[in-house]
Symmetry: C3
Subunit: 468 residues, 3 copies
C-alpha cells in the first residue's frame, strides 16, 4: 500500500511503474462512475496556475477536480500579474500554497514546477514546464496504449515530428523506456531529440540507443525516416543487445503506435532555415497509413494538431488522439484523488523496473557553476535571488553533471578536490576532468570549474595533467 498523498508529480520519474499502473486502475474506476457527482475531494481546492496559454490541459484538470466534488481557483492570466511585478515563483508558490490544497502549474521556464514543489508546502502537479516535461500527458498516452494493447512492454512505438521542443515527447520517452518499449525516433529535419534526453536514456534506463547514421541507408527509405532506435533491456541492470540485423527485424515487424507531434512554433526561433524545415515536415495521412507496417498501428497525438496529421484520419479506427484527450479527465481525477490523499492505492512491486532507479551524488558547491540552459528556472533574474544551482553527477567519464531543475547536462573540463592534505594554498591544484587523478576524486570532494579562468580566480593552479 503506497500513498501518493503529499507527493509531487514534476517528472514522470516521480511515479514508479507500479504506482502508474495502480493509478490506471483507479482511472478505470473514475471512468465508470463519470456520470455521478463524486464527493471524494469535497472541501478541497485546486489552484490552477497557467503561465502559458492552455485549453485542453487546464480544462481537463479543472473538469477532473470538479467531478471529484472539489473546487478550483485559477489564474490563467498570471503571466500578466505577479510576474509583471517582478515576484519570484517561490514566493508565489508559498502564498498560493497557503490558499489551496493542490497546485497545478504550467510555466514557460524549464524546472519551474520543481521550484514550486519545493516551496508550496502542498502537492504540486507539473502541467508543462517549457520544453522539459509534461508528465500528465504521458499518463494519458500510456493509459490509451494500455487500454488497446494491455501492456507497453515489447511494443514498437514510433515518435514522429518535433522531438526537440516537445515536452510531451520527453516525458513519454522516459516512461516508454521504463515500461520496456522499443522506441523508433523519427524527428522532422532539425527537430531531433536533445542530447540530454538521449543521454538520460542510456544512463538512467540502461537501454541501448542505435543511431541510424550507423546503420545502412536502406532503413531511411522505409515508410518514414528513422533517425534512431532505442531498445529497453529485457531485465534491469542489463544493457540491451541490439545488433544491426535485429533492427531490420524490428522495422519489418511494424509499428504498434505512431506518436505524431506538432511543430512547436511558439518555441521556435524564426530563422529562414527553420521555415524551410517546416515545409519538409511530413504529414500523416491515409496514404501513409496504407503502408504495410501500419496495419495495426495506433495513431496518437497529444493535440492540438495543425497540418501534420490529416483530418481524413479522424474516422479511421486506428486514430486514438481524441480518446487520449478524453482520457485526460479520468486519469487526472485518479491522480488528484491520490495526491490529495482522498484515495490510496495498492502497488504490486513485481512489474517495477524502475525500482532500480540510479542514485546520483548531488553537486551544490559554492561558488556554483551555472546550468547551460538559458530557459532553466535557475537562470532567471527573479529566481537567482534564492535558487542555488544543483547538479546530479551522472557520469565521471566524461564528467557529466545534470541540472536537477531542467535535466540539461554540462561537461566541465576542470576539476579539483576539496581535500588538500596539508591545507596549504600551494596545494590547491586543478586538473583536467579527463585525467586519471580527476577520476579518483570522491564525489563529495569534487570541485568543478566552468573554465580555467574560474579555477584561477578561486586561487587554484593548474596541475601537470592540465592541457596535456
Amino acid at each position: 500500500m503506497v500513498k501518493l498523498a503529499n507527493r509531487h508529480l514534476v517528472s514522470i520519474d516521480d511515479l514508479s511503474n507500479g504506482e502508474i499502473e495502480a493509478l490506471f486502475s483507479l482511472a478505470d474506476e473514475m471512468s465508470d462512475s463519470m456520470g455521478r457527482q463524486s464527493d471524494l475531494c469535497r472541501g478541497k481546492i485546486m489552484a490552477s496556475l497557467f503561465f502559458e496559454p492552455s485549453t485542453r490541459t487546464k480544462l481537463s484538470f479543472e473538469a477532473g477536480m470538479l467531478r471529484l466534488g472539489g473546487s478550483v481557483i485559477s489564474a490563467a492570466d498570471i503571466g500578466a500579474s505577479s510576474l509583471a511585478k517582478g515576484e519570484s515563483i517561490a514566493d508565489m508558490a508559498k502564498v498560493v500554497g497557503s490558499y489551496a490544497d493542490i497546485i497545478v502549474i504550467r510555466h514557460p521556464w524549464e524546472g519551474a514546477a520543481r521550484v514550486v514543489a519545493q516551496y508550496a508546502g502542498i502537492p504540486v502537479i507539473n502541467a508543462g514546464d517549457g520544453s522539459h516535461e509534461h508528465p500528465t500527458q504521458t499518463l494519458c498516452d500510456l493509459y490509451t496504449i494500455r487500454k488497446k494493447r494491455q501492456t507497453i512492454r515489447g511494443l514498437r512505438i514510433a515518435l514522429w515530428g518535433d522531438l526537440k521542443r516537445g515536452r510531451t515527447v520527453h516525458s513519454l520517452i522516459y516512461a516508454l523506456a521504463r515500461f520496456g518499449a522499443t522506441i523508433l525516433l523519427c524527428p522532422g529535419p532539425g527537430l531531433e531529440l536533445p542530447e540530454h534526453v538521449l543521454s538520460r536514456l542510456s544512463t538512467d534506463y540502461r537501454g541501448e540507443l542505435k543511431r541510424c547514421r550507423d546503420l545502412n541507408q536502406a532503413l531511411e527509405t522505409g515508410p518514414f525516416a528513422v533517425d534512431a532506435i532505442y531498445r529497453t533491456p529485457s531485465s534491469p541492470h542489463q544493457l540491451a543487445m541490439l545488433p544491426d540485423i535485429s533492427m531490420r527485424v524490428e522495422l519489418n515487424a511494424g509499428v504498434d503506435a505512431l506518436y505524431v507531434t506538432r511543430i512547436q512554433k511558439e518555441r521556435q526561433t524564426h530563422t529562414t532555415k527553420e521555415k524551410d524545415l517546416n515545409r519538409a515536415y511530413p504529414v500523416v495521412d491515409k496514404k501513409l497509413l496504407r503502408g504495410k507496417g501500419f496495419k495495426k498501428t495506433l495513431v496518437m497525438h497529444p493535440l492540438p494538431r495543425v497540418d501534420e496529421l490529416a483530418c481524413e484520419v479522424d474516422a479511421d479506427p486506428r486514430s486514438m488522439y481524441f480518446k487520449q484527450a478524453a482520457y485526460g479527465v479520468p486519469v487526472r481525477m485518479a491522480l488528484i484523488a491520490l495526491m490529495l490523499g482522498a484515495r490510496e492505492i495498492s502497488v504490486s512491486g513485481d512489474n517495477d523496473h524502475f525500482t532500480t532507479k540510479p542514485v546520483y551524488h548531488v553537486y551544490e558547491r559554492d561558488p556554483g557553476i551555472k546550468c547551460p540552459n538559458t530557459d532553466c528556472v535557475s537562470n532567471q533574474e527573479t529566481e537567482i535571488r534564492y535558487i542555488k544551482p544543483k547538479f546530479k553527477i551522472v557520469s565521471r567519464m566524461p564528467l557529466t553533471l545534470r541540472c536537477i531543475y531542467c535535466d540539461h547536462e554540462l561537461h566541465p573540463q576542470y576539476v579539483a578536490s576539496s581535500e588538500w592534505h596539508q591545507g596549504k594554498v600551494a596545494n590547491k591544484k586543478y586538473h583536467s576532468a579527463n585525467s586519471r587523478f580527476a577520476r579518483s576524486i570522491r564525489p563529495e570532494n569534487l570541485i568543478v570549474f566552468a573554465s580555467e579562468g574560474e579555477a584561477q580566480a578561486q586561487q587554484f593552479k593548474p596541475s601537470s595533467n592540465v592541457r596535456q
Copy 2:
C-alpha cells in the same frame, strides 16, 4: 412533451415558438426560486468558451449554471491559446465535448457555433458568433416584452441603431417575425439591416417588407427615421398585405418597444465616412421619449451601451434594459436545465407559427463554391481543412443560395445539370441561371458555378442562353 435534451441552440430558429414559450414558463419558475440553491444540474459541467471578450453574457451563463448546482470550466483567453497554435475549432469542440456536459461558445467567426455543435457530441449554445446570431439575448428580450405585454403578436417594435453588425438584432428580428410582431427598422445612416437578413424575412417568414424609399417623404420626418417596415402575415402561408395607407396608421399608433443598439465599434472599419456617420447617430433621451408615439414604449437595449441611450432614461419606468440583463440568469437557467435534460417541458403546438418552417434542398457539390462572407467560418484557413461549404437553395428566381453556417446569400449566374443524357462531354453545357432551362433543372441535379471561367475549367461549354 418535447425534450430539448441533446439539442443545440445556434440560431433562434433552432427553437419553435412553442418551445420558447414553454422555456419562459420554466424561467418564471427559476425566477421564483432564485434564493434557494438548486441541485437540478448537480454533477454537470458547463464549458464556457469565450473567444471574444464578454462580461454580462459569460457571467450570466456561469451564474445560471452555478445556481442550478452545476459547475463551470472556462477558457476566457482561449483566443490566445489553441487558436494561436493553429488548431481548428472542430478539434477544440471534440476535445472539450469529452470533458464537459454542455458548451457555451462565443466566437468572432460567423457560423463557428454551428461547427462546434456538429463536432462536440454534447449540447452547444451559441453565445454570439460574429455578426451572425445571439439567440440567448433574444430569449431575454422576448421574455422581457412578454412579462410587460403578455404577448408579442401584433406589437409594433422599432429596432434602432446598428442593424448592420448587431447580432442581437438579427436573432431578434427573426423571432419577432415568427411571433407576429410588426417591425419598424430605424437604422443609423449606413447601418441598415444586411440584405440576407431582409431576404430571409421574406423567404422564411413570408411577411411583407416595405422600404421607406417607396413611401412618401412624410414618414421620414416623424420622431425617428423609419427605413423599412416588416409586417408578419396574420396566418401562416399568407403574405402580409400592407398598403401604404396602413403604414401611416402603424406609425401613428405608437411604438410598443424601442430596441436601441450600440454602434459595434469593434467590428467597424475605421473609415472617415463611418466616423461621420457616428456623429449622425441619434441619441435616445428624455426629450425623444416625450414624443407622442412613445407614451407606453418599452425602452430596450442589449447592453453595453455607450452614448446612444442617455443615463437620464434609467429612472424612467419605461426603461427595461437592466431588467433584460437581470432576466439573463433565470432565462439561461431554464435553457441549460432543458438542454441538459434535467427538466422537460410540455409544449402546446397551437401557438407555433414556425411549425411551417420551409424545407430547402441543400447544395454541397464538389468542387464547391465559396461563401461570399469573409468572416464565415467556412472561409477560415484553419477550418477549410475539413469544412465543406454547404448552401440551402432558398430561391430559384433569382437563384439564391444561403450559406448554412452564416446565412449569407449568393446569386450564382451560371448553372448546369448533372443529367446529360448521353453521358457525352459534348453535352456538358452551362446555362444562364435566369434562363428557362436553368429553372427547370431539379435541385438534386443542379450544378452551380461561381463564374463562367470555373464552368469552363470543369469542361462545360456555354449554351445558347448564356449572354443573351
Copy 3:
C-alpha cells in the same frame, strides 16, 4: 449586535474598530475549521471583477468563498471586454449586481469601488482602487499584528518604502491611527505619503504629525530614515501632545513592526529621476535587522516583493509576510460571511475610538468643480455622463474640500454665498476663500469656484476682499 449584511467595504473607515475586532474573532473561528467544508454561504455567488492583474488577492477571495460553500463567477480580463466597448462601471455594476450576491472589485481608477457600491444593489468589497485604498489587505495586516501582539494600541509601527502610491499603506495608516498606534513614516526618496493622506490623519483622527525636517538632524541617521512621526491621541477629541524630546524616546524604544512595501513600478512615470530614486531605495535584510531597535520587530510586507526585502529574512522568526498572506483566506471568509448576512457578530463599543467619526457637510452644487486627481473615477470619460462630483468640506481655514470618491483634496480660492438678500444680480459677489466674509458663509449656502474666470462666467463680480 451589529450586522454587516448589505453594507460595503470600500474604505477601511467603513468598518468601526469594534466591527473589525468582532470580524477577527470570526476569522479565528474560520481558521480553526479550515479543514472542513463549510455550507455557510451555500447558494451564494461572488462576482470577482479584477480590472487590474492580481494573483493573491483574487485567489484568496475566491478560495475564501469556495471554502464557505459559495461559488464564484469571475471576469479577470474585464478590462478588455465591456470597458473596451465604452461601458460605464455604473452600468456594469447594475448588471453584475443582478447576477451575483456580492461583488469584489479591483480597478485602476481611484474611487471606482465607491461607484460600484452605489449602483450594484448588493454588497461590494474594494479589492484595491488605484492608489486609493485596499481595506482587506489592511484587515490581514491588523489581524497578523493582533495575533502576535494582542493589541495595536501603543505599538510603534514603521511604514517603509513607497508610501506615495501604495494603496495598502493608505488604508493601513488610517486603521493604525484609529487603533492608537504610533506611526513612523520612512518613505523612499520621492515616495512620501501624499498630502491628502497626511491631512486626513490630522482632520479625521486628530492625532499629531511631526515632520522630521522640523526635528534635529540626528533622527535621520538612525537605522533607517524617519520622515515623519504620527501619534494618536490617548483619548478621542484630544490632540496628541508630542514634544521633540519624546520623539527620541519613541525611536529609542524600538520598532514593533516594520511594514515594508514594494515600489509600485506599474504606477510609475518612467522619468530618469525616478530611476535614480529606485537605486536609492533601501533593502531590508539580515544586516539591517541586527540593529538594536529591531530585536522584536515583526517584519511585514503586503507582497509581492521584489528586491526591497531580502529572501534571507524568510527563515527569521520575525518575518510575518507569508503569515499575512495566509491569513487572507480566514479573514476574507469572515468578511464575506458577515457581508452576506450568513453570520452576525456582537460588537462591544468600548474599544471604538472611531465612533467619534467626524461628520462633514457635502458640497455637490451645479455647475460643479472637478476633483484635481486625474485618476479619480469622477474624471473618466465614460463616467462623467452620470457621476456628479461631490466633496466633503473638511476645513474652512484654509478652505479644504475632499473628493468623496478618491479622498484627494482641493483648496478653492474663491467662494460666494447662495443667499443674496435682494435677489439682484448686482449682489452676486465672489470672495477670497480666506476672507472673514467667506468664513461666515454657512456650508449649505457655500458656492465654490475653481477660478475667478469661472466665478465671472457665472455672473459673479469680485467683492472688495478679492485680491487684497
